[in-house]
């Protein structure tokens, strides 16, 4: 892949800082990716709220219109469905990285406003110290054994990961139509909640390990990286459900009001370089140029070995943009009234 132009590097260095948001260090290997970027170009990286959901990221751009201070993010990494809406709201600006052509067309905006970055499938991340019988499929989650155990990895009103989880439950129920699938997912979680299995907490590695949420529904790559950081204490199993395997694509974009536009562009160049893509892969994420890299034999074998079995991805459903939008609308709008997970 081509190197970024010297002018871009120079311009970025002049800006000196890149402001990112919502990049937890154990998400997709971002810790190392950021470190690699810093080391390579010598820019500061100002990391805003690593725990923000996709919605929060969009809001951060809105809130900081007219503010060029360190509170304003330059770049965002959001769920696929958030890309088009952000574009429509005029919150992001176009840019085409030098490896643009190797990104599948289905996963990028033709004008370069947003572009897919990596994907994974939703899985059950289970603390097997507490949960002796690991759930295999969505339906298992309703068992009374799992009372007070299950958590989403975000608030469905704000987090793409959580929305996708609900949607996946809908797919597992056999719904094909996106809106219906969304509703079915809501209904499923409504039941979970009524049965007292759903914990109104954002599931994270800590809550997983400490046992407040021994089952977290999260992207497989998150589960795997949590497993690694916990180093077997407690033991964690990542299960891809038998049905309703929902694959989710995230997208990158540059804020329309980015205080450091050149640094943002350089960041994109880095992410979509071979180095950046392999960085994600190390974090168990399938980078969007996976096929391209594989074709060119650029992926070390030991990296491939550590990935989840390819079989899991065979059943994976990639919802289209429209499906995602429909599902998201159905889910965020009615989450409160149908599920209403509250403190009791």
């Amino acid at each position: 892949a081509a190197e970024p132009s010297a002018e871009l590097i120079a311009a970025a260095k002049k800006e000196g800082t890149l402001t990112t948001i919502a990049l937890p260090h154990d998400w997709c290997g971002y810790g190392d990716v950021i470190a690699g970027f810093k080391a390579k170009y010598g820019l500061e990286v100002n990391e805003l709220n690593p725990d923000a959901g996709s919605g929060d990221e969009i809001e951060a751009i809105k809130a900081n219109k007219g503010n060029t201070g360190p509170q304003a993010p330059d770049v965002i990494d959001v769920g696929l469905s958030f890309g088009p809406t952000a574009k429509a709201d005029g919150l992001i600006q176009p840019y085409k990285v030098s490896t643009w052509d190797s990104i599948p067309d289905s996963a990028k905006d033709a004008d370069g406003f947003w572009y897919g970055d990596y994907y994974g499938v939703l899985s059950f991340v289970v603390n097997t110290d507490i949960v002796k019988e690991v759930p295999k499929d969505w339906a298992d989650l309703k068992k009374s054994d799992y009372a007070n155990s299950i958590a989403l990895a975000g608030d469905p009103r704000a987090s793409n990961q959580a929305v996708q989880a609900v949607y996946a439950a809908g797919i597992a129920a056999g719904e094909k139509d996106a809106t219906k699938a969304g509703e079915a997912g809501l209904a499923f979680f409504g039941e979970l909640n009524k049965a007292g299995n759903l914990v109104p907490v954002i599931g994270k590695s800590a809550s997983l390990a400490q046992g407040s949420t021994p089952i977290v529904i999260a992207w497989d790559y998150n589960g795997l990286s949590w497993r690694d950081t916990l180093k077997g204490n407690p033991p964690v199993e990542v299960v891809v459900p038998a049905s309703g395997v929902n694959a989710g694509v995230y997208v990158q974009a540059i804020s329309a009001f980015a205080p450091h536009p050149n640094a943002a562009k350089l960041w994109m160049e880095y992410l979509y370089s071979d180095e950046g893509q392999l960085g994600w892969l190390k974090g168990y994420c399938h980078p969007i140029r996976f096929n391209d890299l594989a074709k060119n034999k650029k992926i070390p074998q030991e990296l491939l070995d550590k990935l989840p079995p390819a079989a899991a991805y065979e059943k994976a459903v990639f919802p289209t943009l429209d499906e995602q939008a429909a599902g998201k609308t159905a889910i965020t709008g009615k989450w409160d009234s149908v599920v209403g997970a509250n403190v009791k």
Binding site: G53, D56, E59, A63, N148, V201, I202, Q210, N342, K344
Partner: protein, 298 residues
């Protein structure tokens, strides 16, 4: 020798004015600071509560407070705050009573007071960690109960993230605060009052019901109100316990202003206004009761 002419001397007015100006200058930095960093930012939001995103006047935001999810957030917040305030007040009262009037060695008193100074500031995120480590699913107490008594705490439906769990967590800083505020009030209870009552024939119970509690109630109630406000505004503890998805007012507000879903910052302002009104009212009541209590302490 001391009789005197009575020529009235006109007072030198400008001198007084200059003095007054200097007087005011002395507190100007404070006033400016308070205006810039406390009052105007708050007014900004208070005004915002009555505006549409476009900047027109509206009462809709206030009206929107009465939607079920927001009401339920207020409701749970109020319940947790009331419960932790009452619990904190009650236990704190007994602790303060024990060290002030219980005839315990003075070392116990100074230990408790020092500890309370620390613990009342031990709110926020670390507190949440502590309780997760203690009463969480793999917490010390939970495991202890399981291994030694075969008692499955979580099997009873207990959950640290419940109303009860939050209340018990909040009480960790509520009790010490109560102890700190109430100890001076109890110190103000003169030994002679008790003795006077006793020598007039009153029993212990009569002393407490007719003399001690009537004297103490402004302090007790006032402090309870303060605890209530204290709990109502506490965000960090709940945030760390539950990671922002808990539907209590401070978190809802956080999500509204910062977050995305309902896309309505002005509604967020209205929620904030509601909070200010609630904590404000309880604080004002607290101040009034304190004044009343101090009147007696003279």
């Amino acid at each position: 020798m001391s009789t005197v002419s009575t020529t009235p001397v006109v007072s030198t007015a400008p001198l007084i004015t200059r003095d007054r100006v200097i007087d005011w200058l002395g507190i100007t930095p404070f006033i400016i600071f308070a205006l810039l960093f406390l009052i105007i930012p708050t007014l900004y939001l208070v005004v915002g509560a009555f505006l549409t995103p476009e900047g027109n006047f509206t009462l809709k935001n206030i009206g929107d407070l009465f939607t079920p999810s927001i009401l339920s957030a207020y409701w749970i917040s109020i319940r947790v705050s009331v419960a932790s305030a009452l619990g904190g007040a009650l236990i704190g009262f007994f602790l303060a009573w024990a060290v002030v009037l219980g005839g315990l060695p003075t070392s116990v008193r100074s230990t408790l007071l020092t500890f309370s100074g620390v613990a009342s500031n031990f709110a926020g995120i670390p507190l949440a960690f502590s309780f997760l480590a203690t009463l969480g699913r793999t917490g010390l107490v939970t495991i202890f109960l399981r291994d030694w008594f075969g008692f499955n705490l979580y099997g009873t439906g207990f959950n640290l993230l419940s109303f009860f769990g939050l209340t018990i967590t909040y009480m960790y800083f509520q009790i010490p605060l109560m102890v700190l505020i109430l100890t001076p009030a109890l110190d103000g209870m003169k030994k002679e009052w008790r003795e006077a009552a006793e020598i007039l024939g009153a029993s212990n119970v009569q002393y407490w019901t007719k003399v001690a509690l009537p004297i103490l109630w402004p302090s007790l109630l006032g402090t309870t109100l303060l605890l209530f406000a204290n709990a109502f505004g506490a965000i960090a503890t709940a945030y760390a316990l539950t990671g922002s998805s808990l539907n209590i007012v401070p978190i809802l507000l956080y999500a509204q202003i910062r977050g995305d879903v309902l896309h309505n910052a002005n509604l967020g302002y209205a929620i904030a206004l509601g909070m200010i009104v609630i904590t404000g009212v309880s604080n004002i009541l607290y101040l009034m009761l304190r004044m009343r209590a101090e009147r007696w302490q003279k």
